[in-house]
């Protein structure tokens, strides 16, 4: 069994110059919490997640606070999102992403999921063209359903 047997062949993506407002809409209108970022030749150049957008809108020190009431301005989150709306994906996207090849092993991708906190791992070909993704749910389903025996 290889990555290609459990991956979702999905090429839905955004671009470095896509406005954040549009990306928020795409997250809202789908079940996705992560989208790949590609260039015009379909090379995978990064990814953007709901978490990245949230992190961008709150100050670094917030994570150390035990209570959000310590924030100087309770509307800071809303204000930041409004300010971020017209920014481009390239300003927020993550560039160091974990990828696997279609012919990669299930052991390899399991290891990637365990080592990294990413819930989605993107699948690329040897030229780094986007081919799809594997979600941690698919891997769990694969193990839970004993599909490896089929």
């Amino acid at each position: 069994m290889r990555v290609r047997d459990i991956m979702i062949k999905d090429l839905s993506a955004v671009y470095a110059d896509t406005p954040i407002n549009y990306v928020i809409g795409m997250f809202n209108h789908s079940e996705k919490r992560s989208l790949p970022v590609i260039d015009n030749d379909f090379h995978l150049i990064g990814c953007i997640t709901v978490r990245m957008l949230v992190d961008k809108c709150i100050p670094e020190y917030f994570k150390t606070l035990q209570n959000p009431l310590f924030l100087p301005d309770n509307n800071q989150f809303e204000t930041s999102i409004k300010e971020m709306r017209n920014e481009k994906v390239e300003n927020i996207m993550g560039k160091n992403i974990v990828t696997v090849y279609e012919d990669g092993s299930i052991t390899e991708i399991t290891s990637d999921f365990l080592k990294h906190s990413d819930k989605t791992i993107y699948v690329v070909d040897y030229k780094n063209h986007l081919k799809g993704f594997v979600d941690i749910k698919h891997l769990m389903c694969y193990f839970a359903c004993d599909k490896k025996e089929e």
Partner: protein, 327 residues
């Protein structure tokens, strides 16, 4: 990879009933299958629909890599995505705020009739169309053949197919076009290599009703004359149970008047799948036309929306007679 563009996708609900009674309550018995002339059916089947979607699924099941580019939204959009993934079709979606439409078809076994409720689709926002076009341009680098299918949703310019064909040509990709209305007329000017007009909705383009062989040939010649790049026009003339293959120098037809049942649900999708598969395999024109005719006859003779079994689809090939009907 063969890329299918379906701008107006749908969820298709198909009810197979023993008897459909209008103006009263019809209860669906989920536990019992309904016996039709070609086998038993579940009383309700839900498909990912919209022109070209079934074709992409057919090809993928026959081992040809396909990708579907579409705009989806809402609960129906999510269901549409799931249905395509079940069938291993590569998906490439723009996620919109508007709910994907849902069509309903009801087969009445006793009357041998089909009732259809077709929803036109909701307004698509300009920003979604822009993202769609940008994504289409990127997908060209991964595409070997392009199939543009179906109607244009509200909010999308009728010139979109014309523009998409030109972009495909710039990337040296051949195009099969299947649509109707103003989008069809405009797209012809861009010169798609293969054309399947939706005959039921093309009266405006032709200017009169299409109910004879002469009218079909005249329409075919009008289409093929629209641009020198157009090579083949395929016209299924259901009023006479015939299919015409119109080239610049030859025209062939296949009659299937002898078939007992004639259910058109899914016929065009089956046609496009068969056409595309033959092109991909670089079959001779004669073999290609026979394959297309065989798959259409098998599809018409079944109440299933699509037939995936290649052996079943090919079973009529030996009996098919291509008749040359002039230029």
């Amino acid at each position: 990879m063969i890329t299918f563009v379906t701008l107006n996708p749908a969820i298709d609900e198909i009810y197979y009933l023993n008897k459909f009674n209008a103006k009263t309550r019809n209860r669906i018995d989920y536990l019992n299958k309904v016996e039709y002339f070609d086998g038993y059916r579940d009383p309700l089947v839900v498909h990912a629909g919209g022109k070209g979607v079934g074709s992409a699924i057919c090809l993928q099941k026959n081992g040809i890599d396909t990708c579907l580019l579409s705009i989806i939204g809402g609960y129906n959009g999510q269901l549409f995505e799931d249905k395509l993934r079940e069938n291993k079709v590569t998906t490439s979606f723009v996620y919109s705020a508007v709910e994907t439409r849902r069509n309903t078809s009801i087969f009445d076994n006793k009357e041998n009739s089909l009732t259809e409720l077709i929803v036109p689709g909701m307004l698509i926002k300009r920003e979604d169309v822009n993202h769609f076009v940008k994504h289409y341009e990127s997908l060209l680098s991964k595409t070997s053949f392009m199939v543009l299918c179906g109607s244009i949703p509200v909010g999308v310019d009728a010139s979109i197919y014309h523009d998409l064909i030109e972009k495909a040509h710039q990337a040296n990709i051949q195009v099969l076009l299947y649509t109707s209305g103003q989008a069809f007329e405009m797209a012809l000017k861009a010169g798609p290599k293969y054309v399947i007009p939706e005959l039921d909705y093309i009266t405006n383009y032709y200017g009169k009703s299409i109910n004879s062989q002469e009218a079909v040939l005249e329409l075919g010649n009008k289409i093929i004359s629209a641009n020198k790049n157009i090579e083949i026009v395929v016209l299924p003339a259901m009023f006479d149970k015939e299919i015409y293959f119109i080239e610049r120098d030859y025209t062939y037809k296949v009659s299937f008047k002898e078939i007992e049942h004639c259910h058109v649900l899914g016929m065009y999708d089956q046609l496009i799948a068969s056409f595309t598969e033959s092109l991909k395999k670089q079959e001779s024109r004669e073999d290609m036309y026979k394959n297309i005719a065989s798959s259409i006859i098998v599809n018409l003779n079944s109440i299933r929306k699509l037939i995936f079994n290649k052996d079943k689809l090919d079973e009529k090939i030996d009996s098919i007679q291509l008749e040359e009907v002039g230029t």
